[in-house]
């Protein structure tokens, strides 16, 4: 769907439109890892052997263990392969938001979310083209609502394949 069309659609429907959730959906793999040498490496090895490319990642740690979050091309395939290797993994919906790589654009995005009372559960950035654009991965509780608000504010949301084609 083209951005222009969408915009019109949103204006026409006064924000209450029922677009299919998932049109803008991207996926992140969340992996349970113990905080020990070699644990992260085990994951990158499995993915690397299957030519799966990690586009971005973040680690949330709680002492002895943590959750490794990765954005990868073909998340479903990666999910299956990790499962086969008896890795504790889950696939989660996230919003991948494209912003300009310049000062003030991250502030702008966060401002839109906070004024609409959307709380971020987690958030991390991937710089995809130096000086041009960046992708911010956000995890929110109010997923569909956040999606609608961002679209209404002309923020571009990427799906899985779009993240990798940038």
């Amino acid at each position: 769907m083209k951005e222009k069309q969408l915009e019109l659609l949103i204006i026409e429907n006064n924000l209450n439109l029922n677009f299919k959730i998932g049109d803008f959906m991207a996926h992140q793999l969340s992996i349970f890892v113990e905080n020990k040498p070699g644990k992260f490496e085990k994951i990158t090895k499995i993915l690397g052997e299957k030519d799966l490319n990690i586009r971005g990642f973040s680690v949330a740690s709680s002492g002895d263990f943590g959750v490794l979050k990765i954005i990868v091309n073909n998340p479903e395939k990666a999910f299956e392969i990790l499962k086969e290797n008896n890795i504790t993994v889950s696939i989660r919906n996230i919003l991948a938001v494209q912003i300009d790589d310049n000062s003030g654009s991250l502030h702008n995005l966060l401002n839109i979310l906070s004024t609409n009372n959307i709380n971020l559960e987690d958030c991390y950035g991937i710089s995809v083209a130096y000086n041009k654009s960046a992708v911010i991965i956000i995890e929110v509780e109010k997923y569909p609502e956040a999606e609608k608000i961002l679209l209404a504010n002309n923020i571009r949301i990427l799906n899985d394949s779009e993240i990798y084609s940038l």
Partner: protein, 427 residues
């Protein structure tokens, strides 16, 4: 419904009389052994159980000290088999059997299996170790006596286990509870749903302590009935006590064993219903009778009649072996109490390890438990909540503050035999 109706539903009075008669025969027979000749020279005829309860206990140490033949009552030419403990610490405990002793034992196991619903038509896959260990061979002969086709496969090699289950449509298994849980992950890996793709109906679990929660977990995963059994090699092995279809306590076969519950500290015999150490006497074994044997297993007699109609009293699930008890900063803890909490949380896997060590003169209790892959939602918050919850539950149950470490699925060592769950670094 019954394998031997007249024996299984015998009137209590008749059973009591029968036991007194058998105890007298036993005492006379036992006097033929070096050990009991000395021990029993004061005891002639007994007329009541209180007479019998004056005889001193026999302990594991007595059996070790009497190695190899001090408990044997007959000529070696009439012995057809021995079973033995591993004897890693000191002399092994060796038990001898005549042909008739083995027949009695096999019949007892057939009775147990029949009670749980096994019939001639069933296919029985025996996933227990064969050899000196009594669990494998005991069930093997019991199943054959009952008439079920028996696959003597033994433990391990999960691929082959599954292959046999599929090809021969196995309906009954005898398996270590820890292996049943592990085998399930292999089934998952091979894309086999035991509920749909296999013909299993019944599993007998035993040989290692486990909780009610573990049993229910196995039942749920496989969609089968799991029966708890109790036995110990000194009392032949499996078949001492067994669950009926009501699964609330194990009928102890009182035509074969005389059971008492005692206070382990004082040796005083406790009334039915009170928890204590189980003390057993063989009533039918000729080659090697054992009188008032301290099993070190803690349980109680369950009061009341069983709906199945059997009159043999029931014992509760073994709470723990008095040897298994851990003392942590002065608090007594049984590993089973910990397992019970861990098995209740579906977010946790079945594999865990308890470690105790001294740090700054204080005992520290570490519990490592694997995460269940299927219930991971991908957030750190959920994991932290789970960890907190488990610590809280454990603290309430055992009164000690444990350190709980969540570990990756499959990362804890797996044993082919009995699972090693407790490592005490203080020893």
């Amino acid at each position: 419904m019954y394998w031997e109706e007249s024996i299984e539903t015998i009137k209590r009075d008749d059973l009591d009389k029968y036991q007194i008669k058998m105890l007298n025969i036993l005492i006379n027979q036992a006097k033929n052994s070096t050990f009991y000749k000395k021990r029993l020279f004061n005891y002639e005829k007994i007329n009541s159980f209180s007479d019998f309860q004056k005889i001193p206990f026999t302990t594991k140490q007595d059996l070790r000290d009497g190695f190899p033949y001090d408990f044997l009552t007959i000529d070696i030419k009439d012995v057809v088999r021995l079973h033995s403990s591993s004897g890693t610490t000191g002399n092994p405990t060796v038990i001898f059997h005549t042909k008739n002793d083995l027949d009695e034992w096999s019949n007892l196991i057939a009775r147990c299996m029949y009670m749980a619903g096994v019939r001639k038509e069933d296919i029985f896959q025996n996933i227990m170790s064969y050899g000196l260990f009594t669990g494998g061979i005991g069930f093997h002969y019991g199943a054959e006596k009952l008439g079920a086709m028996t696959i003597p496969i033994g433990p391990g090699n999960s691929k082959r286990q599954i292959w046999f289950m599929e090809k021969f449509k196995t309906t009954v298994v005898h398996i270590l509870p820890s292996y049943a849980l592990r085998l399930y992950t292999h089934l998952q890996e091979e894309g086999i749903d035991p509920k749909k793709d296999l013909s299993l109906k019944i599993a007998f679990v035993g040989a290692e302590p486990h909780t009610e929660e573990t049993r229910r977990k196995i039942e749920e995963l496989y969609g089968i009935k799991v029966y708890n059994s109790y036995g110990l090699s000194e009392m032949n092995g499996p078949g001492v006590a067994f669950e009926c279809e009501y699964q609330n306590g194990m009928h102890l076969w009182e035509d074969n064993y005389y059971a008492e519950i005692i206070n382990p500290e004082t040796g005083e015999v406790l009334p039915d219903g009170e928890e204590g150490e189980l003390v057993l006497t063989t009533l039918k074994r000729t080659a090697m009778p054992i009188i008032r044997y301290r099993t070190r297993d803690l349980t109680r007699i369950i009061l009341g009649k069983c709906s199945c109609g059997r009159t043999h009293r029931k014992i509760d699930r073994i709470k723990g072996r008095s040897d298994d008890m851990l003392i942590i900063n002065g608090v007594n803890i049984f590993p089973m109490q910990i397992e019970q909490i861990l098995m209740k949380a579906k977010e946790l896997g079945a594999n865990y390890i308890i470690e105790v060590q001294k740090e700054n003169f204080m005992d520290k209790l570490y519990i490592k438990v694997e995460i269940n892959n299927q219930f991971f939602n991908g957030t750190l918050e959920e994991l932290e909540r789970l960890q907190k919850h488990i610590i809280e539950e454990l603290k309430n149950e055992i009164g000690v503050n444990p350190i709980v470490k969540l570990v990756e699925s499959g990362s804890l060592p797996q044993n082919e035999g009995k699972a090693v769950r407790v490592i005490d670094h203080r020893k």
